[in-house]
């Protein structure tokens, strides 16, 4: 039972305010902002209480999305509701920024009216809502064809890779007589997040993958879609690993609307996607990755005679040669008294800088081809350098993106829409692996 919903910018500007039950006053908004900015880093901000009112909020797009309630409601429900609300706003407005919220406030009020009645959640399904929402979304970014990306057209049997602009998937989904007419497009994304810890001796201590198959459907009406996964896809730990590269996950769960009658035999998922974005399948794999972790670090850290800290880092990428990692960012914590950094990097497009506020050196590599090895030599002037300072050179964290690559090896064999839609329909499949948390201890 939600009492009020409001959206604040990070500076506390009131963007949206809606009161559903008349139980609490508008001063709750200022009270919330006061409370949330007064919290220290260690205090959990998600649920706060003031007198009889609970504030539950999430942060997305740099904004605070807040719901208040007087009853002792389920936290999962309210948090999921707020997540779902941000997804709806993103579906309609294209992106989730302060500007797009400001430009579309009428639409958002209309959404809130339809989604919640008297504090009770009625429906959050885009399909049903689009019948009632009449306001048009105003897009803040003009659609530009000049962005190229790593998208490939599935099922293309020609030599060239047809590409779609990377902004194609961030267009607002529900636009009626919009600029592009009604494009029949479906994007199926296989997104994996990897979380790895490698110990100081090079041993892999932890490796987790959390993956999702997400369908983003721009078609106004779509009947059944069949997604075929790898035939050797298996779920659960089993003794028999079989021949060849098996694609295995530990656990797997499906969206409510997915029909699994052909899953056991042919590994086909059947779903009728509604317009908008939905997660069709989620899976996890722990500790038993079929491929080696993508990056290995060989560090050598010592003090030189001149009282400086020398860090020679050799980073090797263990991806197959045709793949590459992009936007690789390496963060190396350094001792507190670090003053100056001088570096020797192996290619001009890399960059490194010392950030004294975070006590870390950031090394950026825009593109790291598979099988390559890049090294860097960093010389740090540290005031008060001692033997113990070497301990402060802490665990190295990496953040990167691996386009067109999945660690589990999950592939989409085919994507069939039935019955065949009138007019051309395009199906795009994208694979990407992100690093959730990749830590290498020294």
């Amino acid at each position: 039972m939600i009492s009020q919903v409001f959206i604040l910018s990070s500076k506390g500007d009131h963007l949206i305010y809606k009161d559903f039950r008349g139980e609490a006053g508008k001063d709750a908004v200022n009270k919330f902002y006061e409370m949330v900015t007064a919290l220290t880093g260690g205090q959990p901000p998600v649920v706060m209480k003031h007198k009889e009112l609970h504030f539950v909020h999430i942060r997305q797009g740099g904004l605070y999305w807040v719901a208040t309630t007087k009853a002792d409601a389920s936290p999962f429900t309210i948090i999921e509701f707020l997540n779902r609300l941000t997804a709806l706003v993103k579906d309609y407005c294209g992106c989730l920024l302060e500007k797009s919220v400001q430009m579309n406030f009428a639409l958002i009020y209309e959404l809130l009216d339809e989604v919640v009645d008297f504090g009770y959640i009625q429906t959050t399904s885009t399909d049903i809502l689009k019948n009632f929402i009449q306001t048009e979304a105003v897009s803040s970014k003009p659609f530009s064809l000049f962005d190229l990306s790593n998208v490939g057209l599935f099922g293309a049997d020609t030599q060239q890779n047809k590409v779609a602009p990377s902004a194609a998937a961030t267009r607002p989904i529900v636009s009626s007589q919009g600029e592009q007419g009604s494009k029949n497009e479906i994007f199926v994304d296989v997104i994996e997040r990897m979380s790895v810890v490698i110990g100081a001796n090079g041993v892999l201590m932890k490796a987790d993958i959390e993956g999702e198959i997400r369908v983003k459907c721009y078609m106004p009406s779509c009947s059944e879609m069949r997604i075929g996964l790898n035939e050797e896809f298996s779920i659960g730990k089993s003794q028999l690993s079989g021949y060849g590269a098996a694609v295995r996950v530990d656990e797997c769960s499906f969206h409510q609307a997915v029909r699994l009658d052909e899953f056991d035999t042919y590994r086909i998922l059947k779903v009728c996607p509604s317009q908008g974005e939905q997660t069709v399948m989620q899976y996890q794999l722990c500790d038993d990755l079929p491929t080696a972790p993508p990056f290995r670090l060989f560090p050598s850290i010592e003090r030189d005679s001149g009282g400086r800290l020398l860090m020679y880092l050799k980073l090797r990428c263990d991806l197959p040669p045709k793949s590459a990692a992009i936007n690789v960012s390496i963060t190396i914590p350094v001792p507190k008294g670090s003053l100056r950094l001088s570096q020797e990097l192996s290619s001009p497009d890399q960059s490194a800088e010392l950030q004294p506020k975070n006590k870390a050196v950031h090394w950026e590599i825009p593109r790291f081809p598979g099988g390559a090895q890049l090294s860097a030599l960093f010389k740090l002037e540290v005031s008060g350098l001692s033997a113990a300072s070497l301990q402060e050179v802490g665990p190295v964290s990496l953040s990167f993106e691996l386009p067109k690559y999945t660690c589990t090896g999950l592939q989409i064999r085919f994507l069939r829409l039935s019955p065949i839609q009138p007019g051309p329909s395009q199906r795009w499949v994208r694979y990407v692996t992100h690093s959730d948390s990749y830590t290498i201890r020294i």
């Binding site: 959390e210 409510q256 301990q391 830590t439």
Partner: protein, 572 residues
Amino acid sequence: MPYLGDEHTVRELRRALSNPNVQADHLRYRNTIHRVIRLPGLSQYVQQPLTVGLKDKAACVRRVAVLGWAKIHTLQPNTEIDVAVVNELYGLLRDPDPVVMVNCLRALEEILQEEGGVAINKPIAHHLLNRLKLCDVWGQSEVLAVLQRYRPRGEDELFDILSLLDPALLSHHAPVMAATLRLFLSLCSTLPAVCMSALERARGPLLAAAGSTSRELRYAALCHIQLLLRSEPGLMGEHYKRFFCGYAEPPYIKQNKMQVLVELVNDDNVAMVLDELRGYCTDVNTETSQTAINAIGSIGRSYTDRCLAILTGLLGLKQEHITSAVLQTLRDLVWVCPQCGDAVCSALEGWEDNLQDSQGRGALLWLLGVYGDRVTGAPYLLEDCIDGVRSEVSAEVKTELLTATLRLFLSRPAETQDMMGRLLVYCIEEEVDMCVRDQALLYYRLLHCGIEEVRQVLQGGRRSDPSLGPLIGRPPEPISQWASSFNTLEPLTLGASTVGNSDHATPKPSTLTPNTLTSNAEAMTPTPGDPHLPDCSSGALSLSVSPALTPEEFERLWLQLEKGACLEVCVQ
């Protein structure tokens, strides 16, 4: 927006409501009703459209009409809701549209609030269970919450219901999973084995939620996992790696994960867990590193040697917040595991640091006081502090300093006598804070009683409390203790709460209170006359727990005082 009380608007609204097809546009219908309900004079006009709306063909209108009755009840409390309407709402529970059904539940909950909400009998319960699959996520959570009220008659019925609900327990929609688990726990409160197996089945979805992209969902899942661990500590044993902190996670999630890690430690994984925690100790965020150090201290109660090695190693980094946290952790650890004394002493040898943080200083002074006889440089360190006592701000640090100096005096009188005298003079003559002054006066009088009394008071008490016990082996709580707060906002509001924070529950063993003193003391003969120097010829000492004056008496005496006089009361 027209002014709501405006005559013109009121007429417009009445006209809108008297239109028999007002529900054709359901949005307009709802907005009109909502506006009208708030106006006291018009509420009778809205009942007719609402009654009609309940029977409308369009589901969206029925949804609005059902909640409209709930709005009338809540926003216009004087209006009587007819029994016929309540019956109609009960009937609409069989509506083909699932949202209408759920809205009826919600409306009946509100209207029948005084009677305990909607009555769930067997037919209604079975009907709801059968229609559960048709509802969406929100509808399912609502139905599952309402079903908690239902008590199945026999075990057969109970197990039928459980097997029907079983798929929902594994749902990857967190609200549905949490609501189902809560329902399971409430239905099976008398069958602990079934509860345990439900917890085990819910483990997978909870862990998945704890790895979700949404940070807030992760936090909610972690808080609930902590609840589960109170009853089944071994539940997450082999999944301890899922609780390793991600590099970019916000500090509050890292702290929760660390608390969970501390509980999952066992012989097999202690090396890995400690390695991981050691990495967090140098985190940029000071609170995170302090939590990590505390966590190592907690584990140290069972795996003392390894943790001590890590903690003393951290002292070498010479970073203010780390050193302060390590000292506090060592102080707490020594209280539980006195065998650590040697390692602590060697760490304190040759101590040179100048700590700014008062908590850290307090801990250092306590350690120096207790282990002063084994640390060669202790008197010199104390002397530095005593010389700087005038600029010391914190009263707690000064009290610790007094106690530590006195303790050191007992073991090394020659080196400490002089500085102790200076400290006592300062505290009694110049100190402004009354607690510090009183403590100093107490010690001064004790010293006059004799060295044996001082020894008895300061060292006769416990130097450690091994009974606080190792961390592992804490008895698991019964599920009923926390089942009622599962899937509510309570576990998240408490935040960094009681679970796993037993190091904070350790009593601070430093400042002496009268209660500790009476436990090992003998009777003292009261002396009339000058209370500054009681005559302790009998050599016995006692302190009473209750104050010498009641508050009222004190006030009376105070008001009688002349300006400039002081109040001296003899302890009886």
